[in-house]
């Protein structure tokens, strides 16, 4: 742990001032001199053969500079997938091509067919209306199980079938798991759907390509969570631009939640077209376009079975999941239902034997990839739902059943390939019982009853693997990239610092929290530290922000770089103080010779580094700037326990969330205010999934709810105040800050407790039900009550 400074303080966010006064600089706020606008003509059908695209009329329309079609990209690479899964039989996954603009076939509604570039956006739109597309509509495959039938139409003609991979984990456990099920005293089975969600960050995606002929340099401004990753993927795999000729800038980004990790066709298009046309090209997604082009999340259909012995100990677990990949493989799509899902199936419990089977399926729908939690919400939901169901079947208290099966010894090696370093699940459950006032439930139940409402209580635990990720491990698992993070700390002569990080902030408050870490280590005011991120030209190669990794991995890189700074600064101080550097102590920005009153201030040392008049030049280089790359030794394992109380209107089936409580263990905390906010936001999204959201396709592959008119986003009056607590802290043992990450917990931990609560309410009211699939809309709940 670095010396105390401002670490742990709820510092107000410095970035807020610009956001609150309208001075944020989001990608759409940027306009480059001479820019053109692109409008994409997109497929109106889910599956079809593209027999011809006639752009002649469009080319003659006012203001049109050029119309591009798939043929213009014949010599350009396709969008790459960054993760390769090997299936149960040792074969690599089936990996289809993903062209920038469709060629030959269109494979989902929204697949881009042509791109009109014009002087104004309206001109581009008007011209796109005149393009004649000859599409021979083909039968669409939408349902995953139907997609795997022998005679199903193929999404990709050149693949064997629609099965991307059939993954077994851990394959060697399979026989032992079968045997444990045979011997079980009780087996609980649950079939469920983890429905398709649309991430919906409030800022739609934007891309602006620019090309400087004098230096042969391309610049892409884009709404990305990881500009370096985009530079690498787009430069190396799609457009063939060397990294030193390509700059990617992600300025203020209005939320991501995973959907802005991936490399999208529009980014490649704008970069490519700007170079071709020698003019900047800008694309701003409309919300309707976002619904059919931003990657979706979740979309798993699962059967889970839990085996218990006669004493109600969990003895084995097996799951069978179909995971929708959509029409193409998005950047990290294969990792989500496998390594981000299977490895979490142990949850907080000491189940000794686990087998996970995942069949990933291509369908004629928008590609599916990581959405807040990515695989871990799916794992948590099925596990915590089946445990609740088991408790009900066995007539035992669901909390007691969980407690009985908690892992209590750490480190703990799970049967699904990971080792939890620390945790205290008893403590978070105790804390939950306290903050949720579970002992007062019966009283509240009676009050609800008196009002004619059904009340229910749902509790669940969760664990997640964050701090993504140890490169060595993920390399073995199929990642095609490393997942370290980087930081450069540049100290100026007058003592201020600039920290350049590969992490990216799109709401997480890095500009406030990171200075707390660095300033705390030195003992200076955080206002002396400036954070630079989001521009590949002035940050070291880093992997960006997702998987609750920025503090655990990016923060650790910052600590390492700052440690190097301090070590060098101590040597300079030792010279100035005529002492040995081993005797120098740094506290509150002052270097002191231990045991004496001889000292020199931080600012004098930094000045000496850059004005080396009295300086040990023979021992040390001038200057004070250090870079560190940090690659974690393990994942981090935040965990916690959540409780939800609902009221159900017996007349209408409408569910209201009456209380929501979250007790989390994130290890050490840098800024508790920001942590609270992260948990609140995650819970809001989790409640959205549980009660409101879900992308619905009809059998022809039309997205039926592709706008905010139809896709029910959670609103302020759908949610209550949340009680959140993170005072249970078991620090991570393998990163220098002892932090675990908090960005996804709320979204992972909240859906099961909501569903558990609604089932509880209905069962208490005498309804014979065991499960309702999300979203628990009034009509679904009402139907369940009728039935």
């Amino acid at each position: 742990m670095p010396a105390d400074g401002s670490i742990g303080a709820p510092d107000k966010r410095r970035e807020d001032v610009r956001f609150l006064t309208g001075k944020g600089r989001y990608t759409d706020d940027i306009n480059v001199n001479g820019q053109l606008y692109v409008h994409f003509l997109r497929s109106p059908v889910a599956h079809g053969r593209l027999n011809g695209v006639d752009t002649e009329a469009a080319r003659a329309m006012p203001g049109v500079v050029r119309v591009f079609t798939g043929d213009d990209f014949a010599d350009v690479g396709g969008l790459p997938c960054g993760w390769q899964v090997t299936d149960r039989h040792g074969d690599p996954m089936q990996e289809p091509a993903h062209p920038v603009l469709a060629r030959g076939k269109v494979r989902h509604v929204g697949d881009p067919i042509a791109a009109v570039v014009a002087e104004t956006l309206n001109q581009a739109r008007d011209a796109a209306e005149t393009i004649e597309v000859d599409i021979e509509e083909l039968p669409a495959v939408i349902d995953m199980k139907a997609a795997l039938a022998d005679d199903a139409p193929k999404v990709h003609d050149d693949l064997k079938n629609n099965l991307c991979f059939d993954w077994g984990f851990v394959e060697e456990n399979k026989a032992a798991v079968e045997e444990a099920f045979q011997k079980a005293a009780h087996v609980t089975t649950l079939e469920l759907v983890n429905q398709r969600l649309v991430a919906n960050p409030m800022e739609p995606r934007v891309a602006i390509g620019d090309y400087a002929a004098h230096s042969d340099e391309s610049t892409l401004y884009t709404t990305s969570q990881n500009p370096h990753v985009i530079r690498l993927l787009m430069g190396a795999f799609v457009l063939g631009i060397p990294e030193h000729k390509l700059r990617v800038i992600s300025p203020d980004v209005g939320g991501g939640f995973g959907s802005k990790i991936f490399h999208y066709a529009e980014e490649a298009f704008c970069t490519f077209a700007a170079k071709q046309l020698r003019r900047p090209v800008k694309w701003t997604s409309s919300r309707s376009e976002a619904f059919i082009t931003d990657c979706h999340g979740r979309d798993h259909v699962t059967t889970i079975q839990l085996a218990l012995d006669a004493e109600n100990n969990f003895t084995a677990l097996r799951t069978d999941t179909h995971a929708n990949m959509g029409a193409y493989l998005s950047t990290f799509a294969p990792s989500v239902p496998t390594w981000l899902h299977g490895v979490l199936m142990a949850g907080n419990y000491k189940t000794p034997l686990i087998y996970v089977n995942v069949k990933a399926v291509f369908t004629n729908t928008v590609p599916v990839d990581a959405y807040r939690g990515a695989g871990r919400p799916e794992a948590t939901y099925q596990l915590e739902r089946v445990i609740d169901k088991a408790a009900r079947e066995l007539g035992v208290d669901p909390i007691a059943l969980r407690r009985q099966n908690f892992i209590t010894q750490f480190p703990y090696a799970t049967p699904v390939a990971v080792e939890y370093d620390t945790g205290d699940y008893v403590a978070t459950m105790d804390k939950l019982e306290e903050i949720a006032d579970l002992s007062g439930f019966e009283k509240r139940l009676a009050e609800s009853k008196a009002r004619g409402k059904l009340r229910g209580l749902g509790v669940n635990c969760y664990i997640e693997a964050c701090g993504i990720a140890p490169s060595n491990l993920v390399g073995q698992l199929g990642a095609r990239a490393g997942l370290y993070e980087s930081a450069t700390v540049r100290v100026n002569a007058t003592g201020g610092l600039v920290v350049m990080t590969g992490s990216h902030s799109h709401g997480q408050g890095h500009e406030t929290a990171f200075p707390q870490v660095v300033a705390g280590m030195i003992g200076i005011d955080p206002s002396m530290v400036e954070i630079v991120h989001g521009d590949t030209a002035n940050t070291p190669m880093g992997m960006g922000t997702y998987g609750s990794r920025s503090l655990a991995v990016g923060g650790s890189a910052m600590v390492r770089a700052t440690e190097k700074i301090i070590a060098k600064a101590k040597k300079i101080a030792a010279h100035l103080l005529e002492a040995s550097d081993g005797d120098i102590e740094l506290k509150d920005g002052q270097f002191t010779v231990a045991g004496t009153d001889k000292s020199v201030a931080w600012g004098d040392v930094t000045l000496a580094a850059y004005v080396p008049h009295n300086y040990p030049l023979e021992d040390l280089e001038p200057g004070l700037e250090e870079t560190a790359f940090y690659d974690p030794a393990n994942f981090t394992y935040p965990a916690g326990a959540y409780a939800c109380e609902v009221e159900v209107d017996p007349e209408t089936g409408k569910v209201t969330i009456e209380r929501f409580s979250a007790a989390d263990d994130f290890g050490n905390i840098i800024n508790p205010m920001i942590v609270d906010g992260q948990v609140h936001g995650g819970i809001g999204q989790g409640i959205g999934q549980a009660l409101l959201e879900g992308a619905v396709y009809d059998e022809n592959g039309q997205l039926l709810n592709g706008s905010y008119m139809d896709y029910t986003m959670p609103r302020a009056d759908d949610v209550p105040f949340y009680a959140v607590d993170h005072s249970c802290q078991t620090p991570c043992t393998h990163n220098p800050l002892g932090v675990k990450g908090c960005g996804e917990a709320g979204a992972i931990g909240s859906p099961p407790s909501v569903v558990n609560a609604v089932v509880d309410a209905l069962v208490r009211a005498g309804h014979d039900i065991t499960h309702i699939d999300m979203p628990l809309t009034p009509s679904r709940v009402w139907s369940a009550m009728q039935g």
Binding site: G22, D28, D29, N200, G681, V719, F721
Partner: protein, 161 residues
């Protein structure tokens, strides 16, 4: 193209627009006031909320021509004269009522309109008022808290869930 003139944050501004130009586009593209955000194309998200003649309006739901001669206030006009944050803005910062900041201008404008109409709203009234403004980051907790605080109500005690 037609000329429109309006008072924006107290200054007379004019520009040439097409009949179909939305007020949000006029503010952003013609006047460069990019604090007003566009988060949807169906009038649901509220990121584009501004005040037109004192009333809160979704600027994507109005043609620029309809605002000809009107007095418009945007997020850029909400700070105090000395540049410091206004009461609502300050409450948003104090209570961490924003994360990515994209919904924030609309939230602040909506909150200002609410407090003008109802200076001491209840929690339920705040939530109901905000139902036309989407935020994907905060789960609304700290937005509601910030608005209650801006109205001078005590939010020091953690709210029971």
């Amino acid at each position: 193209m037609t000329k429109v003139t309006m008072s924006v944050n107290g200054t007379e501004r004019s520009g040439e627009v097409e009949g179909r130009t939305l007020l949000s586009a006029f503010l952003r593209d013609t006047l460069g006031l990019t604090g007003t955000h566009v988060g949807c194309d169906t009038g649901q998200c509220g990121a584009c909320t501004v005040h037109v003649d004192g009333k809160s309006v979704k600027s994507c739901n109005m043609f620029a021509l309809e605002a000809d001669g009107a007095s418009v206030t945007t997020i850029e006009g909400m700070a105090n004269d000395d540049g410091s944050l206004g009461v609502i803005q300050q409450a948003f910062q104090d209570h961490h009522g924003l994360q990515c900041g994209f919904c924030t201008p609309g939230m602040v404008m909506a909150a200002a309109a609410l407090l003008k109409e109802n200076p001491k709203p209840s929690e339920a009234e705040v939530r109901a008022w905000l139902s036309g403004n989407l935020c994907r980051c905060t789960g609304y907790h700290n937005i509601v808290k910030a608005i209650l605080a801006a109205s001078g109500q005590d939010v020091s005690k953690e709210f029971a869930a």
